[in-house]
């Protein structure tokens, strides 16, 4: 329909418009002294380099390995996660929810993009997108299938819509055959998606 071509064209002109717009906004805010551009650099660096889902993987691996920590995580996730050094913005009030053979947990923010930054970093584009936000609460089984996750038909699916400042971390099920693995090795099995609930932990074979 001449449509794809048109869309490509749109995306390009769009990008340059928004580039100009962001540049203008930053220059105004900097010129007025409201924003220090070096602070922007520091913010970006924090989330591009320092904070990411490896943090959450450590939390999960510890919960898999240490029953006392797991219990702490269940009863006071904010404190248990803070004990590993993961604190602050968009993780002020944490709740950990545990998958079981009977129940699978999945997290969404239908109203915006709430996501536990200190343990997972910034959300992926799909998490913030209309297709995910619209369907996660209506058809979570269909959404999971798109992620390649096919649960038994009898498994309960529990969706957590993050409508307040509470942030949810899914504790995926520990894969079979991982007895005796170190926390570090276990952490390798914990994917970002498994902590959102759109994936499962990897099998140990997959990382060997």
């Amino acid at each position: 329909m001449g449509k794809d071509h048109h869309h490509d064209h749109d995306d390009h002109s769009h990008l340059s418009e928004i580039e100009l717009r962001v540049r203008a906004l930053e220059s105004i805010l900097v010129e007025k002294g409201y924003v220090d551009p070096a602070a922007i650099d520091a913010l970006v660096e924090t989330y591009e380099v320092k904070v990411g889902p490896r943090n959450g993987a450590k939390v999960v691996a510890k919960a898999w390995s240490d029953p006392a920590y797991r219990e702490w995580l269940r009863t006071d996730a904010t404190a248990a996660i803070a004990a590993l050094g993961f604190i602050g913005r968009q993780g002020e009030h944490m709740v950990a929810v545990e998958n079981t053979p009977d129940e699978h947990n999945m997290v969404v923010c239908t109203l915006c993009s709430c996501y536990p930054w200190p343990v997972l970093g910034l959300p992926p584009v799909w998490y913030k997108s209309a297709p995910y936000r619209s369907r996660a609460v209506l058809d979570p089984r269909g959404v999971l299938a798109e992620f390649g996750v096919h649960l038994p038909k009898t498994s309960r699916i529990r969706v957590w819509d993050s409508t307040a400042e509470v942030r949810y971390l899914v504790i995926p099920m520990r894969p079979e055959g991982t007895e005796g693995m170190s926390e570090e090795a276990l952490a390798e099995l914990v994917t970002r998606d498994s902590m959102i609930g759109t994936g499962l932990a990897r099998q140990p074979e997959a990382v060997r």
Binding site: A42, I87, E92, S129
Partner: protein
């Protein structure tokens, strides 16, 4: 408000686009938009509920055809104008035309780690005891405010069960409109898929929202 941000249960957006090895940012302007949104937030000129409302009150067609950081950028533009920090004319011509307005604080790079670590906790002590307890059956009110709310349309007028009690938290419906924090008890309310989506829903599904006490009545 019943804006385009309230996406739960909508249809027609197509499949989820999953990007493997996704970068944190897809272009330099996204980095700047992200950073300047957080840096301006740190000036204390508005709160997070005002930010969310600025974004969700974009016209629905614009909201749904703007990328994520485009929405953030448009949100900051609205907020700086509303706060009297930048004029519409300055945004139009892309440069500062007059002196700056007073601002509470400016985020310095060396303070970034401490500011992020502090975050913005929303729990507040209140004297009033919680009206509901875990296990209580509650019904969400059918609220349709013109202003900000965190009660999505799909979960209005529905009966569910209190699953968690989170303490009292800042009430966004008030805080977004300069009416103060008005902290209230916050609960996780769990609904069956049937209750939310009718008899044809997947019987294995349940969905929760986090709901402030004002959103709820006994059921």
């Amino acid at each position: 408000m019943n804006g385009a941000q309230d996406l739960g249960g909508m249809m027609g957006f197509g499949p989820i686009t999953i990007e493997h090895d996704e970068p944190w940012f897809h272009a330099e302007w996204e980095r700047r938009a992200f950073g300047l949104t957080l840096a301006m937030g740190a000036t204390g000129s508005w709160n997070i509920d005002m930010s969310r409302h600025a974004r969700e009150s974009l016209p629905p067609g614009e909201y749904l055809t703007s990328s994520y950081y485009e929405i953030w950028t448009k949100g900051v533009e609205k907020l700086v104008v509303a706060a009297g920090l930048v004029s519409g004319e300055e945004l139009t011509c892309g440069q500062s035309l007059v002196g700056s307005a007073p601002i509470k604080r400016v985020l310095k790079p060396e303070d970034v780690p401490a500011v992020l670590a502090r975050g913005g906790p929303t729990e507040r002590p209140i004297e009033q005891p919680a009206r509901f307890a875990v296990g209580d059956r509650v019904r969400t009110r059918n609220l349709n405010p013109q202003g900000h709310t965190r009660l999505p349309r799909y979960a209005r007028g529905r009966t569910g069960v209190v699953e968690l009690v989170h303490g009292a938290h800042v009430f966004p419906d008030a805080n977004a409109h300069g009416q103060g924090e008005q902290p209230q008890w916050l609960y996780t309310i769990c609904f069956s898929g049937w209750e939310l989506w009718g008899e044809q829903a997947d019987p294995t599904v349940s969905v929760s929202i986090d709901a402030w006490e004002n959103y709820l009545e006994s059921a």
